[in-house]
Symmetry: C2
Subunit: 547 residues, 2 copies
Amino acid sequence: MNKTGKPAAGLSAEPARAADDRRARRQSAESKLQELKTRLREITDLDAVGSVLNWDHATYMPKAGAAARARQGAMLSRFRHERSVDPALGKLLDELLPCAEGLPYDSDEASLIRIARRDFEKAIKIPADYVARASALGSASYDAWTRARPANDFAAMRPYLEKAIDLSREYADYFAPYAHVADPLIDKAEEGMTAAMMGELFARLKGQLTPIVRAIADQPVPCDYCLRGFFGEAAQLAFSLSVVKRLGYDMERGRLDKTLHPFCSKFSLGDIRITTRVNEMQFGSALFAAMHEAGHALYEQGVAPALEGTPLGRGTSWGVHESQSRLWENVVGRSRPFWEHFYPVLRDEFPDRLKGTDCETFYRAINKVQRSLIRTDADEVTYNLHIVLRFNLELELLEGRLRVKDLPDAWRARMKADLGIAPADDRDGCLQDVHWYGVSTVGGGFQSYTIGNILSAQLYGAATKAYPEIPGEITNGEFGTLHGWLRTHLYQHGRKFGPGELVSRAAGAPMSIEPYIRYLHAKYGELYCLPPIAEIDHSYVNAPLHS
Amino acid sequence: MNKTGKPAAGLSAEPARAADDRRARRQSAESKLQELKTRLREITDLDAVGSVLNWDHATYMPKAGAAARARQGAMLSRFRHERSVDPALGKLLDELLPCAEGLPYDSDEASLIRIARRDFEKAIKIPADYVARASALGSASYDAWTRARPANDFAAMRPYLEKAIDLSREYADYFAPYAHVADPLIDKAEEGMTAAMMGELFARLKGQLTPIVRAIADQPVPCDYCLRGFFGEAAQLAFSLSVVKRLGYDMERGRLDKTLHPFCSKFSLGDIRITTRVNEMQFGSALFAAMHEAGHALYEQGVAPALEGTPLGRGTSWGVHESQSRLWENVVGRSRPFWEHFYPVLRDEFPDRLKGTDCETFYRAINKVQRSLIRTDADEVTYNLHIVLRFNLELELLEGRLRVKDLPDAWRARMKADLGIAPADDRDGCLQDVHWYGVSTVGGGFQSYTIGNILSAQLYGAATKAYPEIPGEITNGEFGTLHGWLRTHLYQHGRKFGPGELVSRAAGAPMSIEPYIRYLHAKYGELYCLPPIAEIDHSYVNAPLHS
């Protein structure tokens, strides 16, 4: 319009109509985006409701509620699947594609359309009957495992595991062609990662770790007597809670409960809960499990509120998630600066047990390295050897090179070769982890733990490079700078960027094992008087630890 | 077939074809019944999932989870409504009608088809947009009330209550024609009951109660000092738990938690939970609330397993439900035989507080009658006057005879007239109950409490008539005979029979206030040395207690 308020004379009707068209297109795109968000929020909410059922199952549900609970959970999964493959959702995403292309790549809207589209394209490859079969196998297998593991009865689990491997191959085939049958399974947890990439990473890591483990094994085992004895449940839980609050875990939006197997669960940005386990005859497991889960929770609590209720509103991958649990549990929680602040507080809590123990003795006790049979009990140094073993066995099972019936023997042989010890029975061997029994697919899960360990050191290194005052702050029990860096560079982005892209943006380089190996060398080299990094004899690589 | 194993010669193909037809029809009916059960189980499961969300909200949810939780609950309600009005469900029920007619009236199948049909016919009268508007008002009004009640701010609640009354009338109109606008609302809670029937019952009851309250008011107030002082939370909860287990509450299928407002919640036949509140400075509220909720839970735990996952698999009406909570809380839990057994146990739990108190003093303390402002604090005798007051106000609001803005004054005037006392503010007056603020409809709720009181005495009377040994067993802390009678005559039937029919079957007569008045006279006549029932001066009926 000109100054007179009337349409300028001499202008044809065309430009006005074009403006109207543009406005109409924009309005239509906005209403489509709104519809997309409504649809995606329903899917997110169905996930959240399922999580409430699972949390309750693990914390407070009476035993007799299990059958109905499984049925109710399966119903929610079915509703969720129906909604995530709804052709109307696909049509909406198609229509919104040009709109996304006109927006900045990392804007909330462009990211939402991009990620939702990728999720949709993956979801429609899976038939509904597969989802139902997989869900039924997962429940049945989990129930059987809770009985078979205490009974040391691998034979009982064999048919379930065989079926899970069949279902894993079937899952992979929906994403054919692939270079390796495990690739689609790995991609579920770590988008863009492949068996070949993981295999190379793990071989290099194992090559670096084995000589360290070997060198430590030659040293005297440190005494961790101070961690044993009676540490009351209420006091352990109260101390754990005070620590995780100090890390930055927001209790207005969270809570800590006791479970058999610790976990973190998200129902919304305002309700992200953690659990821990308590052993009254030992200090440590309750606190470190709580810090581990708090790491997951800090990640989820830090996602930008604008992403809430969308598929972007959660952590980007299992591996990156695990990097946060391990960073807070190990890199921070088992560090000397951390205990310089917290040990006096802890000793005041348990004066009878700790009065004769100084901070250094305590610090060495919580960092004791000892080859052990159980993954979840393993220390920082040997932990990854447990993972590499499982990852390789999974690939062989999926490829058909290893048969399920031969798994127990293969497990024992591999433990002997990699860690120098072997379990007396399957309970402490190939039956120990729920990962092969409580799910419908095998493969693609374990590697995330090691990716997490690797990234924990790399990301902590990037944070301290940016803010060299971080270790000093930790000595004062302050975590705000570290937490702030992680929130800015990782947490707030949710699933906007895939794991590879996110790590490169945050750390300034792709994932690398070097910072992690350097971290282990620095910490354990000092604790165990190991020779400097260059002097370690690498001839042990891939050689058995014990003959 | 004959002995030779061949079809008998001379039979035409016709009868064989007729048999085939019959078989085909039976198979078709069976598969239809199966489909019906699948559909109804999904609706039941959606209710159960919603209940888990509500239970968690009331027990352990962090405050900041409320907004997402409300959205998730609304989503489940929407799914539930869509399924309960699905035309395919109606078609299935039509097709199954002839099949139901061929089965015994009280068989599981005939009952299922009958009740599901009635539920469907009611559900389709309500438009989906009404359900959404009602749900939104309920949430908003509840949130506002949690702020307005402490602030004594009735003005803030006025628009919500006005809207709730509009929605109540709208609801009623979906069921027009009706004799009274409250009838469809009352029928929701108590099938077959009307405002006229309740009005007559309440007038008679008030006529009987007022002189008793008046007579008791002339007596000295008994001392309940023994109930005051410090009774630790953990000990109160442990004692409450031990009592409800003794009553027969199955902890394999239940649990007891602490909440602000006690309730009972059912997620499946295997998971029926109760909550209680604890006041550490007073003994009583935790235990009696736990027994009250355990009464609801015993009812639900006693429903026949064959009805699980169907609309028959729960108690038949609010009033009958309340009869069970009141029976176990009051008729049993505030009786002399009960405390003959439990008082010595309780005194051992709290020796410091109770060492100087004998059982009789304690018994009189827990049965103290005193006119009070708050319904939930009221004793057995005055309680129903609170209900009659609310019921009458509801009718007047719905009829339009009373305007919402005049409610606070009307409340005060009515309290003064009926109970002789009036609240200083609305917080303890017309703002006190969630019933008018946490829901989308007003009316049809409160009467169930009084129906429950009336039935509690009538049903306990029927049980002791059949088994006169029941009071003696209670003296020994045994409840098996009473529980067994209730299970057989009430609990197992679930919703198979409507409340009127169920009571007539169980008690051998329709609901009557006589057993209840007789129960109150016997108990409180003895406690307060009242004149025998015939001698009570009934001239006080409907007259104000205080001039």
